[in-house]
């Protein structure tokens, strides 16, 4: 008998049948539904014979546009997962007054941990990285990012992390420690299950993906710009992309190191953050927030960039105070590294330390405020068209100011002494993350969707989605501010305080309204796909845009531009349009040349496959599988390094055929403008 058990332990590590939560219907049913959905989609793909299309055109694609779309798709799917967690939490808190509600603590605690982890790492991050991937090379007027294959590796590693988080739903458990897994609670003695391991390994894997994306985009912006695209001619979105990715490069290694220390504690009995042998919990707090605070700017800066593009386009004006905006962006980038201590004013640091970090945190509000005012003056004297992206932008400005107010309030140490960790704080960061990042992501989605797919989204459903989300946000989170003022702390599975009850019910109603908003968004997508012919964008410039992404067709050809555009000022495409109109018929029959593009490669997918195996094996202590995964990942890279042809040529004739269509449409657009 013992011998048999050893074999099992060698083969399967800690994994056995008890890992499947057969007694918990909710995760089991959810897992089953997801599994059926995935199998259904796969079956459909195989039966319809789309498998080779999927493999050749998407999974192995190294085209930055395709990868960007896949990032956004991943984020959208995970948004539904994280959103279901949110709904469950709001219902629990609405019913758990003087009772246990319907979720026992061990389940509820997993849900809020998963909700935070998923929303930050697998919704917000992939959404903004996806949009940056999709748009930045187009705005810079180049054919691809700096490292196309690495880009694919980055995406698939992110997907691998997301997959592991979802596997935890049905095999084992997720962390029950909150989204930052503070020790000593997350140490082995207080969290002996595999939850924290799922958390840490999925973040390690996706963290490498994020770092790769960050390096890639920094290099792209700094080294790959088309002729004449000086730094101070770059669209604002490129600037915020640069700032955000510089932050990724500087901050994500801190997360990697911190989680590595936690894992060493858990796996090998180290003493970084343990209670015993001199470990130091406060060090974890400092390290994790040294990453965590820049992280929120990693998310929100690209959103600022999106709003800059949207506000200027739909106001029909260049961005007001462009240089000021650049300065503000870079100021935020730098200062965001100097304020991490405001996340734990209540740890007993001295008054000088608290005050200095409090003031430093407020200083970030200055460049942020400048941005708001510059958007305001961009609208001033404009001719504003309220298409859906612009609605999101105006909604953002109003919402974000309130979030900014409460944020500065929390930066005042004596106020934080009574608001720290309260529902007020929860309301604050949802106010800036939903009102800032998510609204920005949705604005970018609506704004650039026609560029990515060649047809616009239905405006009526888009408006409905905006209004439900906007109102739903306020109905959900204003009550949370109030219960925070009534002393309610976060992460309570149940409570006995009567005064909190009504507000929790209002918040639950609010989340229902938010859900309607999300449903509207889905309906919008479905309706638009069905009516895509009517919504077709043939000109490549559906919004009368200003930057170079609108200078090519929608969707852009694989090489983006037949010729690298020559940029002569800010708002490059706007000036091109103006010039084209003045000096009508430009050179007819330009001389097309062969274009070399990077070949597709399964490296990213295969590498992430091995990374998933390795992560799963590490979580369950299946050591032989860890070695297999590691060797597999290394072998994948060697195979990639060994290949002899990494580029293919698109002949000039083919380029000509593709580009002439675009030129025709564009001339039509310009002449239409003349008539108009």
């Amino acid at each position: 008998m013992p011998a048999v058990r050893t074999v099992e332990a060698t083969m399967l590590g800690k994994l056995d049948w008890s890992a499947i939560p057969l007694d918990q219907p909710i995760p089991l049913i959810a897992g089953a539904v997801v599994l059926v959905a995935i199998l259904g989609v796969l079956t459909w793909v195989v039966v319809k014979g789309h498998l080779s299309y999927l493999w050749n055109e998407w999974i192995t694609s190294v085209d930055h546009k395709r990868i960007g779309v896949m990032y956004v798709l991943l984020a959208s799917v995970m948004l539904l997962r994280g959103g279901s967690d949110a709904i469950m939490m709001r219902i629990q808190q609405a019913v758990a007054y003087q009772s246990q509600g319907y979720l026992p603590p061990e389940h509820y605690n997993q849900i809020f941990s998963a909700h935070g982890t998923i929303m930050i790492f697998f919704v917000a991050m992939p959404f903004v990285i996806g949009l940056m991937n999709l748009i930045v090379p187009l705005q810079l007027g180049v054919r691809d990012v700096a490292f196309p294959t690495l880009n694919s590796v980055g995406f698939w590693l992110t997907a691998s992390g997301a997959l592991l988080v979802n596997i935890s739903l049905v095999v084992g458990e997720f962390a029950r420690t909150g989204w930052l897994a503070f020790p000593p609670l997350s140490e082995l003695s207080y969290s002996p299950g595999v939850g924290v391991d799922y958390y840490a390994w999925s973040l390690q894997i996706s963290g490498i993906g994020t770092l790769v994306a960050g390096i890639n985009l920094v290099t792209t912006v700094l080294k790959l710009r088309t002729k004449g695209m000086n730094y101070l001619r770059m669209p604002m979105f490129c600037w915020t992309t640069l700032a955000s990715n510089l932050l990724i490069v500087a901050a994500f290694p801190i997360l990697t190191a911190t989680l590595a220390m936690l894992l060493l504690d858990r796996y090998l009995g180290f003493h970084f953050f343990t209670n015993e042998a001199g470990g130091n919990v406060m060090m974890f707090m400092n390290l994790i927030w040294a990453w965590g605070h820049p992280e929120v700017y990693i998310l929100v800066l690209p959103a600022f960039g999106i709003f800059s593009e949207v506000v200027s386009t739909f106001s029909g004006k260049a961005l007001f105070g462009y240089r000021s905006m650049v300065l503000a962006t870079m100021a935020i980038c730098v200062i965001s590294f100097m304020v991490w201590l405001h996340h734990f004013f209540t740890m007993g640091a001295g008054p000088n330390v608290n005050a200095i970090f409090g003031i430093a945190s407020m200083i970030i509000a200055v460049p942020t405020g400048v941005k708001i005012y510059n958007w305001l003056f961009t609208m001033y004297g404009g001719r504003i068209r309220f298409a859906t992206p612009m609605l999101w932008a105006v909604g953002f400005m109003v919402t974000f100011i309130i979030g900014g107010l409460t944020g500065v309030l929390l930066a005042v140490p004596p106020a934080d002494f009574i608001l720290h960790n309260s529902m007020f704080l929860v309301a604050h960061f949802h106010n800036v993350i939903i009102g800032g990042v998510l609204f920005g992501a949705f604005a970018g989605f609506e704004y650039w969707f026609p560029k990515a797919f060649g047809f616009r989204l239905n405006e009526r459903w888009g408006r409905a989605a905006f209004w439900f989300t906007f109102l739903g946000f306020f109905i959900t989170f204003m009550p949370l501010y109030i219960v925070g003022m009534l002393g309610m702390t976060r992460r309570m599975q149940h409570y006995d305080v009567a005064a909190w009850r009504p507000w929790m019910i209002v918040a639950a109603v609010g989340v229902a309204v938010l859900t309607i908003g999300v449903i509207c968004q889905i309906v919008q997508l479905v309706v638009s796909i069905r009516n895509r012919e009517a919504l077709r964008d043939r000109t490549g410039d559906p919004w009368d845009g200003r930057s170079l992404e609108w200078a090519t067709s929608s969707p852009p050809p694989v090489f983006n531009f037949a010729f690298n555009p020559d940029v002569r000022g800010e708002d490059a495409y706007w000036h091109m349009k103006a010039r084209a109109k003045q000096q009508s018929p430009e050179r007819d029959g330009p001389e097309y040349q062969d274009i070399e593009m990077p070949r597709n490669s399964p490296t990213g997918f295969v590498c992430a496959f091995f990374a998933t195996i390795m992560g799963f094996a590490l979580i369950w202590h299946i050591w032989w599988m860890v070695i297999v995964g590691g060797l597999g990942a290394w072998a994948t890279f060697v195979v990639f390094a060994w290949r002899d042809h990494d580029e293919y040529v698109i002949p000039a004739e083919e380029v000509a055929v593709i580009d002439r269509v675009n030129l025709e449409q564009r001339r039509g657009l310009i002449s239409m403008a003349e008539v108009g």
Binding site: R225, L232, L264, F272, G278, M283, G569, E570, A578, G676
Partner: protein
Amino acid sequence: MSITATAGHAHTDPHQIGVLIEHPGPAPKRIVTAYGFWIFLLSDIVMFSCFFAAHAVLAGQTAGGPRGSEIFEPSYVAIETVCLLLSSFTCGMASIAADVRNRLWFHVSMAITCALGLVFLVLEFREFADLIARGYGPSRSAFLTSFFSLVGCHGLHVSAGLLWLLTMMAQVFAKGFRADILRRMTCFALFWHALDIVWVAVFSVVYLLGSAP
């Protein structure tokens, strides 16, 4: 549409000040690759600095276990340092050999680099094994935790570097000095030199400062 209305502003760039040097366009691949790798190295150094910070915080937390001065053997570490510094030199030779497309010297220099790296790793491994055998493993105290992690993290980087080195040699052997292989060689050399710099910091902060009684 609104284009007509702005025709007058078409050429006025309101923020344009003075004469300006036009950006020449995308950089060549060689530059882009090395530049990207530099950024990766910076991020790697940030990661190391976290372990350095942890060491600074935990160095005094011996929990009744040994202090640095009781367990470090300076002569051992001196040999390790010499090996690594020499290997950086030979790695530089390999880069030059690659630049002048001399296969023989490339392989010889890389092989010496590899050997020196291996000696370094063996010495480090023996130091670790010895400490653990004496009961001074990383679980003994927070000080030893941070010591093993910081030095071990560097050691892992060296191991990964050796794997990369051997892969590079095999590639040059099989494919010769192709442009993409030369770009990779540049990155490898950067990586190897960076590990040297990190080691200098480890040597000074952990061993020299830590040996003070």
